[in-house]
């Protein structure tokens, strides 16, 4: 199970990456637009 070892070795990078991705995602959320539900 090498990937588990690798994951635990680079755990700080994993968490940093997760955090950055989350910030990027959160950036987009307020821009959501309403549209007609019953268009077809």
């Amino acid at each position: 199970m090498n990937w588990i070892e690798a994951l635990l070795r680079r755990r700080r990078w994993v968490l940093l990456g997760t955090l950055l991705l989350s910030l990027a995602a959160a950036w987009f959320i307020p821009g959501m637009e309403s549209e007609d539900t019953y268009d077809g």
Binding site: I4, L7, S22, P30, S34
Partner: protein, 709 residues
């Protein structure tokens, strides 16, 4: 998209009421995106003067002596009745229409302007105004969705955190499993918004669904992690063992759940497809975060004290142990009980109906439903059916065709729930009467094509415009509007069919039908079809995945029994309670199945390992429930609690969605903890020797997992 503003007063024709109508008409005309507004004050009034036709607004001046004259004029015209003015003359309407191109946000802006005009007029006049029509409905549904999502998210988070607290009795695992799912939610919505997808009623359910379902992976991983710790491993060893054992079941539970959502793609309703797709993506994110970010995060925290944890879980585990003991002693009774439930379930499921209306999507006491009820009781029906008749050029100037259209209108009026019909025919009669000095005997269609053509020409010369709404300029095609009460989709569909049949067989008129009724009917057909398709896809794919995971067709099929039964029971509940299949409830079954099956996957994976280790069915079943039961109960309760939040929503559909999924989870929990062990014990689908041979390492319970890192 039309809207209608209504009020009632007796006597209606007073200068102040007429002033109110006039002022509302002018104000509503200025609302952005409103194409036209028709009311008693600006509707066309026709009369003859010598041999010429005069078309002018019904109300010319608003002085007191005029009011009585206006009343007489208004009451004399059949065309206004049940549309602008009620049969008893006490209720009146201001009808408006929005431009076809208006988008949802423009519609919302228009409705809120209309509502503020109404509130102001109410304050000034002291009259109560009512709003109806498809536009108001459409916008209300959207706004209620937005209100709901703001209510759902904090409630779901609160409720689930409570369950997590009872599961772990420690803030750390509760917070960690939460963090994983909240991050998954942020990623999903970031992607959803980033790719410029629209927000809708369905998207308001998405966070609740994702939080409740996505948290299961982390809960299973954390509970297993603590189990490994309890065997004396340090936290790095425990994380490695946990991932090694839980990766496969978690991957497969996420896959089956994703499949349930992907089955939404079979739906013909675009927003349902979109929601399914993003829910599947969200489940994928939750899985990734549970097996990558969660362990990484977990490795930074020292493990909590063991004693506190064991005490917390102790009572539940003791109960589950007793339950398993009873189950293993009475497998026959359980199987007989199951057969009975299948019969009851099938009976109830046969009573399912797809009857639904837009209106009943809202709860009974919703203000819009109150307004609808008032308008339909006092004035006219708010649903419309548009029948389009087409012929050669000038076809609609022929008395023969007009008489056929007239016969069709009279037939439509004779049907139940129909309140009013309007077409070119009404104008032809009206003009003819006006040209004959208002003599009621001439309220009929002129007899020769020349007479028809001439009267219509006179109307146009006089500046008449309203007719254009009912016939094209070349008199090639015209429409018949049928206004009827807001009834169920089944009743509406049978109304449309009876009118179309009559036109076809009695008159030989080919018809096209549109209007709200056609939309509803289409939706209903789609719903029934997408239900069948989505269940078939979900059942097939999930059985396949189970067979693959368990590497046994037999075991795959057995695993479906404790999950298919809850679905059948869910249909039975819907059948007995009269909950109809609609856009929302139609997708429940496939989804419930794909979630319910998760615990079965965990159970069977664990059971195989225990059977290989212990070599005995009864012991292995006891051990499986003993170690896994807490996680299964906890994730099921999380789902039940999470989906219960939807009961507080504004839509009946959303409520039913939450209720039905919650109930199904409860049934499925019983299926996994009672029915599944009984089935396994009865059928013994795995040969013990074979399973023992499959497990490469056989270790005792005490030194379980030792020595491998």
């Amino acid at each position: 998209m039309f809207f209608i503003v209504v009020f009632k007063d007796e006597p209606l024709f007073t200068p102040s009421n007429l002033a109110l109508i006039a002022s509302l008409t002018v104000q509503l005309e200025q609302v952005p995106y409103v194409r036209q507004v028709t009311s008693l004050t600006n509707v066309e009034y026709l009369y003859g003067q010598q041999d010429r036709l005069v078309v002018e607004p019904l109300v010319q001046g608003l002085e007191a002596p005029n009011a009585e004259a206006i009343r007489q004029r208004a009451r004399s015209k059949p065309m206004y009745r049940d549309a602008l003015i009620s049969a008893d003359g006490a209720t009146t309407a201001i009808l408006g229409e929005l431009e076809k191109v208006a988008s949802m946000s423009e519609e919302m802006a228009a409705v809120s302007t209309i509502q503020s005009i109404m509130r102001q007029a109410e304050a000034e006049s002291g009259k109560q105004l009512y709003l109806g029509g498809y536009l108001a409905m459409d916008v209300e549904i959207m706004q209620a969705s937005e209100r709901d999502v703001l209510k759902f998210i904090p409630l779901t988070i609160g409720v689930i955190f409570l369950v997590l607290w009872f599961t772990f009795r420690h803030w750390l695992p509760a917070a960690l499993s939460f963090a994983a799912v909240v991050i998954a939610l942020v990623w999903t919505f970031g992607l959803y918004a980033g790719l410029e997808n629209p927000y809708s009623m369905m998207t308001s359910i998405l966070p609740v669904v994702l939080i409740a379902i996505g948290i299961a992976d982390s809960v299973h991983i954390l509970i297993h992690y603590y189990e490994e710790l309890s065997y004396g491993l340090d936290r790095f060893q425990a994380i490695k063992m946990t991932l090694r054992k839980m990766l496969r079941p978690c991957l497969f539970t996420s896959l089956t759940t994703a499949v349930g959502f992907i089955s939404f793609l079979a739906s013909d309703i675009p927003i349902v497809r979109l929601t399914g797709l993003y829910a599947a993506v969200g489940i994928g994110f939750a899985f990734m975060l549970s097996v990558v970010a969660l362990p990484a995060l977990l490795s930074f925290f020292r493990a909590p004290q063991r004693a506190a944890r064991q005490q917390a879980a102790g009572r539940l585990v003791a109960f589950l142990d007793r339950l398993t003991g009873w189950t293993l002693d009475h497998p026959r009774a359980i199987l007989v009980g199951m057969s009975l439930l299948v019969l009851i379930g099938a009976w109830g499921a046969l009573r399912l109906s797809t009857d639904t209306t837009m209106l009943t999507m809202l709860k009974d006491d919703h203000p819009l439903r109150v307004d609808y009820a008032f308008i339909e009781e006092n004035l006219t029906g708010l649903s419309n059916l548009e029948l389009v008749v087409e012929g050669r050029a000038d076809a609609l100037r022929q008395p023969a065709l007009l008489n056929q259209l007239d016969a069709l209108s009279r037939f439509a009026q004779s049907r139940p729930h129909v309140r009013k019909t309007l077409s070119l025919v009404d104008y032809a009669k009206e003009i003819n009467q006006a040209l004959h000095g208002g003599d009621p005997a001439f309220y009929r269609i002129p007899e020769t094509p020349q007479a028809v053509a001439q009267s219509l020409l006179l109307y146009e010369f006089a500046g008449g415009k309203e007719l254009r709404d009912y016939v094209t300029a070349d008199y090639r095609s015209g429409r018949l509007t049928v206004l009827f009460d807001t009834v169920s989709s089944g009743q509406a569909a049978s109304l449309r069919r009876s009118i179309a049949d009559y036109a076809q067989t009695q008159l030989g008129l080919p018809l096209q039908t549109t209007g709200t009724i056609a939309l509803v009917e289409q939706m209903m057909d789609k719903v029934a079809l997408s239900q069948t398709k989505s269940i078939a896809i979900a059942l097939g794919l999930i059985a396949l995945l189970m067979g693959l995971l368990l590497r046994s067709v037999k075991l795959g099929l057995i695993s479906m029994i404790p999950n298919a039964l809850p679905i059948l029971l869910m249909f039975a509940v819907m059948g007995f309670a009269g909950i109809p299949l609609d856009a929302v409830t139609s997708i429940v079954a496939g989804l419930a199945l794909s979630i319910a099956v998760d615990d079965t996957i965990h159970y069977l994976t664990r059971f195989r390992r225990e059977l290989g280790r212990l070599g005995d069915y009864r012991q292995a079943l006891r051990r499986t429930t003993h170690t896994l039961g807490q996680a299964i109960v906890s994730t099921s309760v999380i789902l039940l609690a999470g989906f219960s939040v939807l009961l507080l929503g504004s839509f009946q559909g959303t409520m039913y969605f939450g209720l039905l999924i919650g109930l199904t989870m409860l049934f499925a929990l019983a299926g996994d903890l009672v029915l599944l062990p009984a089935l396994l014990l009865w059928l013994k689908p795995i040969r013990v020797e074979q399973q023992v041979a499959l497990v490469p390492f056989r270790v005792g319970a005490q030194d379980y997992g030792q020595g491998r890192r």
